[in-house]
């Protein structure tokens, strides 16, 4: 393949993001011989430090330093990228809150194809790049063909590509800052608001009874609370429960909520979207209770129970109470 491949390097407080190595791995899936170019955008010492770090993996790193890029405002980053990325390139962007802002618009400005939330890459076949996406919350996958002729902006799902173990190299930094000129935005960053701590810190709990859409209604929440109390556990949840305002945001597990590391995780009526699973770390023992045998949660769970959680959980709670009585 002749198209040049770029990887947008995300970082925070000067620390390079895991997605950098994942995008490198994705580039190698597009073309096993690819030597992708990293693009690091920002200002001050951070952009220098991250560019230098990226040289351990990428043979060429384009550094774009500009005072207006101190905060990664996608509108400004897009303007910066459009000034330097050649027509027909393949541009890889992490599919996170920043990638959602950047990718679609960037594809329009570059007159390139856009493909979102890619989880696997089959490779180039003639004039198309063949990739895999998921739909309906991961219940089904699809093979997708993308036209290569005008280039592609590809949003890549974080965690979907495994970073290869490679010896560090000594790449070159190419400073593209002088090509920026003036960057102006019609959207201006003001502040980041950290959520108020909840009554319970689910990130520190060894056992979580976690509820999803299957809880059905707010009046059913005590069913989960009673099980949690019997087990000595805390109640956490997935996004639909917070959307419905049945539990506070501080109880939400997932990429837009908390990252938890319990020993045991009971996923009750949770389908198991990748955004939810992204918040579940430390390889816990996962029990999935769900009516739908096709729910993606059964792919990652250790033990599954295909049943209505609303009927099963009171039964389990009773069992836990009896057991505790016997041992007490």
């Amino acid at each position: 393949m002749t198209a040049r491949i770029f990887a947008y390097i995300a970082y925070k407080a000067g620390a390079i993001d895991d997605t950098a190595a994942e995008l490198f791995a994705a580039a190698r899936k597009i073309d096993a011989a690819a030597s992708p170019t990293a693009i690091v955008v920002g200002s001050g010492p951070d952009v220098d430090a991250v560019s230098k770090n990226a040289c351990a993996l990428f043979s060429e790193v384009w550094k774009i330093a500009n005072d207006s890029l101190a905060y990664p405002n996608a509108e400004l980053v897009r303007q910066a990228l459009v000034k330097v990325i050649p027509q027909g390139s393949v541009v890889l962007v992490p599919h996170n809150h920043f990638g959602l802002d950047l990718g679609p618009g960037l594809s329009i400005n570059l007159n390139a194809a856009f493909v979102s939330d890619v989880v696997a890459i089959d490779g180039v076949n003639g004039a198309t790049l063949n990739v895999v996406r998921q739909e309906f919350g991961g219940q089904v996958s699809t093979h997708v063909r993308c036209k290569l002729s005008n280039g592609i902006v590809m949003n890549v799902r974080p965690g979907a590509f495994k970073a290869a173990e490679t010896a560090p190299i000594n790449g070159n930094i190419v400073d593209k800052s002088a090509e920026m000129g003036t960057l102006t935005a019609k959207r201006r960053y003001l502040a980041t608001i950290v959520p108020e701590a909840g009554d319970v810190d689910i990130t520190k709990e060894p056992v979580l009874v976690s509820i999803g859409r299957g809880i059905g209604e707010k009046d059913n929440i005590p069913i989960a609370e009673e099980l949690a109390e019997a087990l000595g556990a805390a109640v956490s949840c997935s996004r639909p429960v917070v959307d419905a305002k049945w539990l506070p945001k501080s109880r939400q597990v997932g990429s837009s909520g908390q990252t938890v590391k319990p020993k045991v995780y009971l996923a009750c009526g949770i389908s198991g979207s990748f955004q939810h699973l992204a918040g579940l770390k430390g390889n816990p023992f996962i029990v999935a209770i769900n009516k739908n045998p096709k729910a993606p949660i059964f792919q990652v769970a250790d033990v599954g129970i295909v049943t209505d959680m609303l009927e099963f959980i009171p039964e389990l709670t009773e069992k836990v109470r009896e057991t505790k009585k016997v041992t007490a």
Partner: protein, 263 residues
């Protein structure tokens, strides 16, 4: 404020299990229950709340066919002032860019201060809003979970970023925002409300009426083509516990004790 909400009718995943058809190349579409894409419904509610405070009108648009009119009527029953169907044989097989191109045609023939979409469709790529904004040279923000109207020229918005954090920005109008679920509590729509709008004429615009070049949309112009649907070969998967609820609870109890699940 004149607000456009771009909405879509999709298979409702809370009502259906999505499975493959017998041929194994598409999802099983018989007996599917369709509804408005969930985040789009939050977008309509947000638009209604903004005009309730600041005045103006809410228009809901969808790119589709006659079958999609049902969600337009539903959103009118919710309170949207107008609905339009953007429909033309030339739009068949549009990818995200094609849909954005059609919507751009509608935005340009009307006048909107604010364009809202849902953050993502069940079978979509969270892409149309960002593309539409770039085509119109409007500013854009995704994953919006709060909107405050500052004056007639700008908004203060919150976005959902990682770890439960919110990113607060100011954005100039006109702009395009993609709305995240949970931003509000969408109002209930009863059968009575739906009946009241059942016979309202919904205007339809095709490529010519929108000034959209037919060769720039539809299957032929699409950069992205979905080849099939499939279910990936399963990993090891969960060990499924069988038996009555009581038997299963017994087995699970033993496992929980062994794994430290009983504190």
């Amino acid at each position: 404020m004149e607000i456009l909400v771009c909405a879509r009718r999709v298979p409702d995943t809370s009502e259906n299990e999505i499975t493959l058809n017998d041929a194994g190349n598409d999802i099983e579409r018989d007996d599917l229950v369709y509804s408005i894409n969930e985040p789009d419904n939050y977008a309509v509610e947000e638009a209604l709340q903004i005009v309730a405070k600041s005045g103006g009108n809410v228009t809901v648009a969808t790119v589709g066919t006659d079958e999609d009119e049902e969600i337009l009527r539903r959103e009118m029953a919710m309170g949207a002032n107008k609905a339009v169907l953007l429909s033309d044989d030339a739009f068949n097989g549009c990818d995200g860019k094609g849909i954005a191109t059609v919507l751009k045609g509608f935005v340009q023939k009307s006048k909107f201060d604010l364009v809202l979409t849902g953050v993502q469709a069940e079978d979509g790529g969270a892409q149309v809003g960002g593309m539409l904004a770039a085509m119109l040279d409007y500013p854009f923000a995704s994953l919006v979970n709060s909107i405050e109207v500052l004056d007639g020229k700008k908004l203060k918005i919150g976005r959902e970023i990682e770890g439960g954090n919110r990113e607060i920005s100011e954005i100039d109008l006109p702009c395009v925002l993609s709305i995240q679920t949970g931003i509000n509590e969408p109002r209930y729509v009863g059968m009575r409300g739906i009946r009241q709008v059942a016979s309202v004429e919904i205007p339809t615009y095709g490529a010519a009426g929108l000034g959209v070049d037919s060769s720039s949309v539809g299957a032929a112009a699409a950069n992205i083509k979905r080849e099939d649907y499939f279910i990936p070969a399963a990993g090891k998967g969960a060990e499924i516990l069988q038996g009555t609820n009581e038997e299963v609870a017994d087995k699970l109890m033993e496992l929980l004790k062994a794994k430290g699940g009983v504190q």
